[in-house]
Amino acid sequence: MGSVRKFDSKPKINGSWKFLDDYQSEDMIYGNIIYSKCHHGIIKDIHFPNDFNISEFTFVYAKDIPGENIVPEPVSDQLFLAVNEVFHYGQPIIGVAHPNKVTLTNFIKKIKIDYEELPAIIDIKECLDNEKNHFGREITIDHRTRDEIQNSWIRHHNVYYMPHQEQAYLEPQGVIAEYDKQDGIIFVRITAQCPYYVKSGVESMMGSAVNDVVIETSEGIGGAFGGKEDFPSLLAGICSLLSYKSGKPVKIVLDREDDIKITTKRHPARIEIESYTDPATKKIEKIDIDYRLDAGAYQTLSPVVLARGVLHTAGGYGFPDSFIRGRLFRSNTPPNGAFRGFGAPQGFAAMEAHIDGIAAEMDITTIELRKANIFNNGDEFPTTQKVTEENLIDCFNKVLEISDYQKKLKSYAQWNKNHKDKKGIGVSLGFHGGGFTGNGEKTLNSEIKVVLEKNAEVKIFVANTDMGQGAHTTLAQMFCEAIDHPFEKTKVQLPNTSKTPNSGPTVASRTIYIIGNLLKQLALELKKKYKFDKLESYIIEHNSEFPLELRKNYIQPTSVFFDEESYRGIAYKDYSWAACVNEIYFHADTYQIELIESWNVLDIGRVVNEQIALGQAEGGILQGLAYGLSEFFYKPGFGRMSGFTDYTLPTTLDIPKIVIEFIHTDSVTAKGLGEIPMDFPAPALRNAFLNATGIIIDEYPLTPEVIYKTIKEQK
């Protein structure tokens, strides 16, 4: 079937599909959040401007919450609305609504809140360098096997810093809540990744004040990248309460500036690595990693990011002796959250830089060092999970081949001798675990529903959202391809918690890998049970048996077990593998890195829809390149950014040529794809810069300012 046309292409191009802000109704009023502009303090007084008719506004405070003032999260410690004390800039204090959007905006601008200011940590290093700021559960993966360090081993020790990253989805956060007083039902329309998370958010907020809560997504979701995983629960809760109190449908759409200032970002990280390498064998014999994330003011879902982070940070290497410690650190900034990669990009940014650091220190090539340590069949992850394939080696060899790495390495070294500007080439590699970490998929117990209509139309009901990534098209394809059913006779229901069963959140590269494969299994079981050649003909012949509703739950194989206490066992059933080579040109006069070309070889197993897969890979690679090159959100002394004028997303002119190759596509399983392209471009870029200039930078992104400062300090 290959690259069939996406369901959403046409309605998005002709404008018939609605994004959140396109939904209107006659009596709809506009809501917004009045949030803290203080990093940490006690609320002393709130002054409303006196040139507005206050009776026209609806206000909701913490005291108005009929349910619990807690946003449900893996660690539920975040409030919907602040009570007396605020712990971060951007913390919601009051929900407010008014029939006129302009009046509302002007009113909010004029509100003054007095605070008694308390000490606050907003600086990333101040947060992460100080052990006193640690909070929450500490994770350790202890795979220490030796007591002694041999004298001949070479120690390499370094600290790496990774910045925030903004998801920069095209469509900002938005929600419409409508309270039906008669039936006591709240209906929420939202641009979000996880309708069932939103449902539990609104249920927590409303408690027994309502009989039911129904969540449906907007037709179009303009990107998410993790940014619409948990924040929508907070926004929907406040919006629902405003609708409940006003009795009217309420719409909140965040202004871009507010969206950037108050919503979740990728966690800044500080990763310290100490390693010992045997110079005779080039084998890294011992590694110790201290992995820290700046969670922001609350833990929320950060423990889950931390879990994935520590499980990925040791990279694709078979270390015989490893010790990994993972901790969250508290700051007075908005809680950080999900972003494509979920803790893994930080881990690889540090580990892949460290590998090149070791090679530089030992004066051997990074390729030799990687080859001596890369995962072989039979090696172990730090969790003791066995590596059962050598696909990472295949990715690595392939990327070296298609990038012409060795030849370029030599010719650039020669070129660099006679030029002030420098050329460089760098490599990185690793893996990404598909689906929820550990026993997560078992707990989720995802359910899917398929209805076979009398006219042989297949209707798919899943809670997974299509936010532009093409999930619905690919899911339908997987069902159809399994039993050779025509794609045109398939529909995917818009996620709605009263119609679509809980097939889990649209996160963790799990949609195709878990839900898609589940649909495929269901189709195959159907075929086996009814023994048909073509489903269509079968339905015509047995028309009275239809419509037929089928359901299926994901059952985690019993062989998959992970001990959440000791962090031993099977952390992920299937891994995707990748390797990346980046080529750069360094401009000596301006200290700028120019991206020339990026080669990426990915093993995601079977590729269902090549066009969609390439699109996903390209987008992730770009976000990864920008993570290494230009994106940062906070600058010491100057604070946080508020828009795209300063926050440096690359433009089309900044994008290099990108080469993508999928390998092992004849495999049976379609594995995770969403996140892995993001994991490796940043360290490959950093390593290319090291190759070009010999200058070691252990802080991302490699902005010209950081490069200049490093060069100046070295002199």
Partner: protein, 280 residues
């Protein structure tokens, strides 16, 4: 805020002469709309001038080319007259902004807005551009080098508007040229450092040099003292330290969210040295 749409230049100038409030001109709107949204501008008289023909068009008169204030960057990029006589200026504008902005933004607006980072001023400065300012009292010409007097301050009087930019046809003829805008990305970016330069070198001697910078002072300016030092000097006699010393008095870069003053200074110095062909 009051919004006005004068039907022609005369009506506009009449309005300006009796206006009690600060006057703002709305042409492409690419700067002013942002300033209104961010509430940097809260009150004033707004004049929509986009349809005033007298302020539009690129015209050649004898040895001069007159570029009307309302000329957009798209028009400059596509103009045959500009391409024929000012290829350097045209090249300088290539990655000025996104196609959307380039289509709306005007040369007069970019200058009048007076931003220290404005992109068009450095190349115009080295081309010795003049501005035509007009009011009910008539037209007066001022050189662009003297136009700016401070941060977002200029010689423009309350009742005046920029009518156009005047360039001599020979302005870039026979020079080697440089324009470098250093930003956080290749386009759609606010310059961290901008440098424009023209030079004529004969037998190892600098015959003439013109240098202008943006984003490094309260307004874009020519590097007069540095030009003075460099004019008529043998390249081999140039002292790097002297350049450094003079430059440190002529530019006053700042640190902000976008960049650092040390970086800005060093990049400016590097670009000048490279333009002069001096190893560094």
């Amino acid at each position: 805020m009051q919004f006005n749409k004068p039907k022609d230049l005369n009506e506009l100038l009449e309005n300006l002469s009796i206006s009690q409030k600060k006057n703002y001109f709305l042409a492409g709107g690419t700067d002013i709309n942002v300033q209104i949204k961010k509430e940097f501008i809260k009150d004033g008289n707004f004049y929509y001038i986009n349809e005033i023909d007298e302020l539009n068009g690129i015209k050649r008169k004898n040895e001069k080319v007159h570029v009307g204030a309302l000329t957009t960057y798209r028009e400059l990029l596509e103009s045959d007259t500009i391409s024929e006589h000012f290829p350097f200026l045209q090249r300088s504008l290539t990655n000025f902004a996104s196609p959307l902005l380039t289509t709306m933004a005007t040369i007069g607006g970019n200058i009048a807005n007076g931003s220290p980072t404005n992109d068009v001023t450095p190349p115009l400065l080295v081309l010795d551009a003049e501005l035509e300012l007009i009011s009910v009292a008539g037209i007066r010409n001022v050189s662009l080098t003297s136009f700016f007097t401070g941060y977002k301050k200029s010689l423009l009087k309350k009742d005046e508007i920029i009518k156009g930019v005047v360039l001599s046809i020979q302005a870039e003829n026979g020079y080697e040229t440089l324009y470098k805008k250093v930003g956080a990305r290749k386009t759609l970016t606010i310059a961290k450092v901008a440098l424009a330069g023209l030079k004529k070198i004969k037998e190892g001697k600098i015959d003439e040099i013109k240098l202008a910078v943006g984003s490094l002072n309260e307004y874009p300016r020519r590097l007069d003292k540095l030009e003075e030092y460099l004019n008529n000097i043998m390249i081999r006699d140039i002292n790097k330290n002297t350049i450094d010393e003079i430059l440190s008095k002529e530019i006053t870069p700042i640190s902000d969210l976008r960049s650092d003053k040390e970086y800005r200074y060093r990049v400016c110095l590097n670009l000048i040295l490279s333009f002069l062909g001096i190893n560094h």
